[in-house]
Every structure is written in C-alpha cells, then in structure tokens.
C-alpha cells in the first residue's frame, strides 16, 4: 500500500476537487459521513459509494491507491462482522459502511494538503496537540520511507530467511529499534530547525481562499443532497425500501457518465 501517494496527490494534483476550498470539502465530507452513519440500508450506502467512485473516475484521481486504501478497512470490518453480526445483511452493511466512510475520507486527503485538513481542528484543540498533529503527519512519511530502507537493508543481509524465522524476527525488531533511534534524532533536528525559524509554541496553518464559490457551493450541495437522501430513507424506510435499488442504479449511471466524460476529455481534470 503506497501511503506516500496520498501526499503526492494532495500537493501535486490539479483536479476541480483539488481546487475547491478546503472548508467546502470538509463540510462535504462531514455530510457524507453523516449520511453513512444515519443510513441503514445497504443499497443506499452502496449507491453513495458508487457516486463517490464516479467522482474519483471523472476527476482522474489516482484510482489504485484510493481503492487499496478504501478496501483496507473492509478487511477489519469483515472480521468484526463475522465476529458479531447477527445475519448476513448486517455483516454486508457493516463492511459497506466501512468502505464508504473510508472512501469519503480518502478522497478528502487525496485532494487536500494535510495542513489544510488539520487547520480547522488546530483551532479547537490545545496548541501542543495541533502542532504535534502537523509534525506527526510530516514525520509519518519520513519514517515510512526510512523504515522501507531499513527493511531493504535487513533483506539484503538475509534477515528475512524463511529457514531462520527467529533471526528474521530479531532483524526486524532491530530495524524497528533503529527506526526509533532515528526518529529521536529526527525530533532533535526538527526542534532545532523550528527554533531557528522562530517557533514560539504555535504552528499556524493557513486556509486558502475559495477559487470558485459556485463550484464550492455545488460540491456542498451535492453532499447535502446525499445526506438528505440518507435521512429521508431513514425516516420513510417502510415506504422507500421497495425502490432502494434506484440509488445504486443512479450511482452506477453516474459512474458510467463519469467514465464517458473521462474518455472524451482525457486532460480535462489535469
């Protein structure tokens, strides 16, 4: 799983979603999350997931890493569903909710640089938490790369030999220990750099202004429409359930339209 792709896409991407205001994207994400939480109809949840997938296709977001990251919680949700769900439908619903909520979060982080995602949260949490959040995200990618290098070094020294599992485990643990020592040195360097740059106990992440208010309004409007759909289904489930199939059908149609749009305008979203 290429987690570093998240950062690359967020900072280098140029899709309409990348250009949308972070505040509008966060509001849209909150609405989609609320729709997943509120709804209990597996077909409606699947329909919402398809609509999100249509956005990924239409705007040429990196499909493979997004799909891999969205599928990741499905595995753990399936274990939870197998362990506790009373019937198959509830199990499928648990997995569908996990994948759809994850897909919404992943689309957000693939199109928004992390300081902009954390900026609103930074304003409500204590200073040390907000700053450490930014430092953690930055260090995460550095350590991930370093850990990859350490594992390669261990592999080159035949540390992962299947015939010697104890040696392999010891080498991996020492790689983690080495990573830990490296991370402390990294913390030291970071502190020195921050002090030189005048860090006084508060990192400020700025939110950029909206590039296009109508586009932001359309994004929020679409997310609110999905939330309204989910709420409507929750309230009038006894009347609407017979036509639940309409929602995934709509999602499927949108996915088809998105694929056509992508084929006809190959460079439109770049």
């Amino acid at each position: 799983m290429d987690i570093a792709a998240v950062d690359r896409s967020a900072t280098l991407g140029g899709s309409p979603l990348h250009r949308a205001s972070p505040v509008a994207k966060l509001i849209a994400f909150a609405c989609l999350l609320a729709a997943v939480v509120v709804n209990a109809n597996v077909l409606v949840v699947a329909g919402i997931a398809m609509m999100l997938a249509a956005a990924v296709v239409a705007w040429r977001l990196p499909g493979r890493p997004i799909a891999a990251l969205a599928a990741y919680p499905a595995f753990f949700a399936a274990v939870f569903a197998l362990a506790s769900a009373p019937d198959v439908l509830v199990g499928v619903l648990v997995v569908a909710k996990a994948v759809t909520a994850a897909l919404a979060a992943i689309v957000l982080v693939f199109t928004t640089p992390y300081p902009q995602v954390f900026a609103p949260l930074q304003r409500v949490v204590p200073g040390v938490v907000g700053d450490a959040m930014l430092m953690t995200y930055r260090s995460f990618f550095l350590l991930l790369e370093k850990f990859g290098h350490l594992l390669t070094a261990v592999r080159l020294r035949s540390g992962f030999s299947r015939r010697r599992p104890v040696r392999a485990a010891r080498a991996t643990t020492q790689a983690l220990g080495g990573l830990l020592l490296y991370s402390f040195d990294l913390a030291e360097r970071d502190y020195d750099v921050m002090r030189l740059r005048g860090y006084e106990g508060r990192l400020r992440a700025r939110l950029p202004r909206s590039a296009s208010r109508p586009r932001d309004a359309a994004l929020v409007g679409a997310a609110v429409a999905m939330l309204a759909l989910a709420v409507l289904w929750r309230l009038l489930w006894f009347a609407l359930n017979p036509v639940s199939w309409l929602v995934p059908l709509l999602g499927f149609a949108l996915l088809g339209v998105a694929a056509l749009y992508r084929r006809r305008s190959p460079h439109a979203a770049r």
């Binding site: 799983m1 987690i3 997943v36 939480v37 509120v38 709804n39 209990a40 109809n41 597996v42 990251l69 969205a70 919680p73 595995f75 753990f76 949700a77 274990v79 939870f80 506790s84 009373p86 019937d87 198959v88 439908l89 509830v90 648990v94 909710k97 996990a98 909520a101 994850a102 897909l103 979060a105 992943i106 982080v109 995602v117 200073g127 040390v128 938490v129 450490a132 959040m133 930014l134 953690t136 995200y137 260090s139 995460f140 550095l142 350590l143 991930l144 643990t173 020492q174 983690l176 220990g177 830990l180 991370s183 913390a187 030291e188 970071d190 502190y191 409507l232 009347a239 017979p242 199939w245």
Partner: protein, 269 residues
C-alpha cells in the same frame, strides 16, 4: 485487538458521542499536565513517536487481521500524559486514511490512551521489581497484561453497543432470511407512499450484535496478537535500552540534559 476496527454508523450515537467528549476532556487535561515543562521541545518528540506508532499500525499482518501498535513503547518513551495526546493524534490521522472510523476516534483514543498509560505504569513497576537488566521480560509481561486489559474493555464496549439498537436496519430491500430482493414493482412503479401519510410505519426491525461470539473471537485471536506485540515491544525496548539506556529508564528529555550539556537549546543547563 487493542483499538476498535468498528466502522462509522455501527455503534450507537450515545456511545461514540460520549467517547468523543471523554477523549477531548482527557486530551485537554493531558495538554495541561504536560505543559508544566517546555512544550515547544515536546512537539517534535511527540510527533515522531506518534508517527512511529502510525508506521507500525499501517503495516498489517493480513492473515491474522493484526498489526503492531507500539503503544507500550510510546507510553515508556513519552509518559502517560503525552502518550494520551499521541493516541488522539494517531487515531485522527488513521481515520483520515480510512483506517478506523471518524466517529470512533474518541473511543479509540481512550483505548490506546489506556494502553500507553497502563503500559508505562506496568513497565516502570516491573523494572523496579525485576531490575534494569530484565527490561525484556518486564516489557513482555507488561504488554501482555496491557493488551489483555484493553481487549476486555473492547468486549465491554461492544456489549454496551449490543444492548441497544446499534445495528438497526431495514429489511425491505433485501430479506435476510431468504437473501432475496423484494420486487420493487410489487406496489406499482409510482406507488411509493412516501408522501401520503396514510400508511403507518411498522416497527423498525432491530438486530443485536452477538457479544458472546465477538468475545469468543477476540479472546481466541487476541492472544496471538498479544504475544506478537509483546515480543516486538520487548525486542525494541531491549535494543534501545542496550544502545541508549536513558531513553528507556530516564525518558528522552532527561537524556538530553545529561548527555549533551553543551547543546544550545533553550531551557538547558
């Protein structure tokens, strides 16, 4: 099985809402407690230890549905208060990359925060009891006890959720007993009855989480994970204790004061 891999929308609102409130209160308290020393120096340290936890948590061992957490390591290195803040940060970032629900961030923070605090206390206690040379067995025992405790807390949480309408769902779209879809045209193409108000809503079907089955699974699969985590924790802390002992026995900040007196950082002798 230390933190909750339960998706959004499965646990009842009162439970995850209470989790968020309790976690934010705890994080505020932890920030206040840790602010007694120089906060500016703690930010990069907190950042890298939380990032280290993220690196280990994002590398799953697929056949076992398990990943290493390094929560006890974080607790030993950061102490209980900063450990709670690290737990919150880790859960927020994990939720942002789809690993764990956003609504359960609060409950997960409480769970991971308990692990860091309990792990820290147990390692400290066992090292005093067994001596510094036996850091590996101390870390191993502390990790097993910590994970057993938090797994029991997890089962308790699911039992709380299972008692309510945690998985309320409608069955009209798909009949779970036959797994067949209801004919969407059975009442006519336009006969939705949504706006007429004449049809009385039938009682909403509810499904309850099977707590007994969940407990059986986590107490069967869990110990494999506990042993793996304990071995890695013992190995990592043993290695660091051998290479740079003060990081483990005196804490990272204390080591800097003792070993690098000529350094130009603020707040140092």
């Amino acid at each position: 099985m230390s933190h909750i891999h339960i998706p959004d929308g499965v646990l009842p609102f009162w439970l995850w809402g209470a989790g968020w409130i309790a976690a934010l209160a705890l994080v505020a308290l932890a920030s206040r407690m840790s602010a007694r020393a120089d906060v500016r120096r703690k930010v990069p340290l907190l950042g890298v230890v939380a990032a280290l936890m993220l690196v280990s948590m994002s590398s799953e061992i697929v056949p076992l549905a398990y990943h290493i957490n390094l929560t006890v390591v974080a607790g030993v290195l950061l102490g209980p208060w900063l450990g709670i803040i690290a737990a919150f940060i880790v859960e927020v970032i994990l939720a942002m990359i789809g690993h764990g629900g956003v609504t359960v961030i609060g409950l997960n923070t409480l769970m991971i925060g308990t692990e860091t605090a309990l792990g820290w206390a147990l390692v400290r206690g066992l090292v005093r009891l067994l001596g510094r040379r036996r850091i590996r067995p101390a870390a191993f025992i502390a990790t097993i006890l910590t994970l057993a405790t938090t797994t029991t807390l997890l089962v308790g949480l699911v039992s709380l959720a299972g008692g309510g309408a945690a998985t309320t769902r409608e069955t009209g779209a798909l009949d779970p007993s036959t797994l067949r879809f209801e004919n969407p045209f059975s009442r006519g193409v336009f006969s939705v009855n949504a706006l007429r108000g004449e049809e009385k809503a039938p009682p909403r079907p509810e499904a309850y989480l099977s707590v007994r089955r969940f407990a059986a699974v986590v107490y069967t699969l869990g110990p494999i994970g506990w042993v793996m985590e304990a071995l890695v924790t013992a190995g990592v802390l043993g290695y660091v204790a051998r290479v740079r002992p003060t990081l483990v026995f005196a804490g990272a900040l204390a080591e800097e004061r003792h070993t690098e007196p000529g350094h130009h950082m603020e707040g140092r002798p």
